[in-house]
């Protein structure tokens, strides 16, 4: 199945984003015509899947809602199958700035790291709600306690991964605990990592869909139980 379409794939997990997904994909396509766009629809109940079907986008569909982690892993596996070397993970809600991707991919191409992690605290992120800021600081401490890695932003969806060098990179946490799992994978596989600035666009829409405090507890439980079951 390998046909080397492009060395880089942008994987976008999608769930109920009918109002923004088309604009997100068009912006990505316009800025990165040379990259493969892989959208993994996680069984959306709205018209997201129709809106996501724009020219040259590879569209995959989960027949059951599995979670963002599962959608990312499906996209990563598909990118490997079609012969991509690098994978960029990108949120579908319009929070990420496509302009940041170039630096991430360049860092991998220059072999400066095996995985590049986005950090909103190094970038020019504005309008970040205070509650979100504290939650992210708490997650930094949690990540440090569980993995020993002290990151400035441990739960950022924008990442670039060298999947050619690390084909064994595999997300097993189906839901939101995948972000913590990725940090564990970095440690386990001894991947060279670097954080790069990224700009998060906080809008009313994205804040409405954001993670609640209660969900953070679920993430912690999922993470520990998932590790126990490995």
């Amino acid at each position: 199945m390998k046909n080397n379409l492009s060395s880089t794939a942008i994987v976008i997990p999608l769930y109920n984003e009918e109002s923004v997904i088309e604009a997100v994909l068009k912006e990505l396509r316009q800025k990165y015509p040379q990259y493969v766009l892989i959208v993994v629809d996680d069984n959306s109940t709205d018209k997201s899947i129709e809106k996501a079907c724009i020219k040259d986008v590879y569209l995959l569909h989960h027949s059951v809602n599995l979670g963002q982690g599962a959608a990312l892993q499906t996209g990563i596996e598909y990118a490997k199958e079609i012969g991509c070397r690098y994978v960029v993970t990108f949120d579908s809600d319009g929070q990420h700035d496509p302009d940041d991707i170039a630096l991430f991919v360049q860092t991998l191409q220059n072999d400066e790291a095996d995985i590049v992690l986005g950090s909103r605290f190094l970038g020019k992120t504005q309008n970040m709600p205070l509650r979100k800021k504290y939650l992210l600081q708490a997650s930094r401490v949690f990540t440090w306690m569980t993995t020993g890695l002290w990151l400035t932003d441990s739960h950022n969806g924008l990442r670039a991964i060298n999947i050619e060098k690390f084909p064994q990179f595999e997300i097993t946490q189906n839901r939101m605990a995948h972000a913590s799992e990725i940090i564990s994978i970095i440690k386990t596989l001894k991947m060279r990592y670097v954080e790069k600035p990224c700009n998060i666009r906080y809008t009313e829409y994205s804040m409405e869909k954001g993670q609640s405090m209660f969900n953070s507890i679920n993430i912690i439980i999922d993470y520990f139980v998932g590790n126990m079951m490995k």
Partner: protein, 108 residues
């Protein structure tokens, strides 16, 4: 024999019959379950023995002993069910993922 004993034995017998016909346990596991049912039957019929066993392990009454055992067994059962469900989830994820990759389409 009081009514509650009849009721408990009837429920237990029904559970045992359903279990016998539907479970896919190995022979050793079946023996453990049968032994468990046997102990419960015995304690329903002769509850005073529960007190004697409880005293042997420094527990005040047979009722307390049974409550402790039931709690421990329920915790164990929850864990076993969780592991089973987790394995099923993994299999479901694999099937859905393979189907998604097989049916991937390039939009025109």
């Amino acid at each position: 024999m009081i009514f509650i004993k009849f009721l408990l034995i009837a429920i237990l017998t029904l559970a045992f019959v359903i279990f016998s016909f539907s479970s896919r346990l190995k022979i050793f596991q079946k023996l453990v379950v049968i032994a468990g049912y046997g102990v419960v039957f015995f304690l329903i019929l002769y509850p005073s023995y529960a007190d004697e066993i409880a005293h042997l392990v420094s527990i005040k009454s047979g009722t307390d002993l049974i409550v402790y055992i039931v709690l421990a067994l329920m915790a164990l059962m929850t864990m076993v069910l969780y592991v089973g469900q987790n394995n099923n989830n993994k299999m479901i994820t694999k099937i859905i993922r393979e189907t998604a990759k097989k049916d991937a389409k390039k939009c025109q």
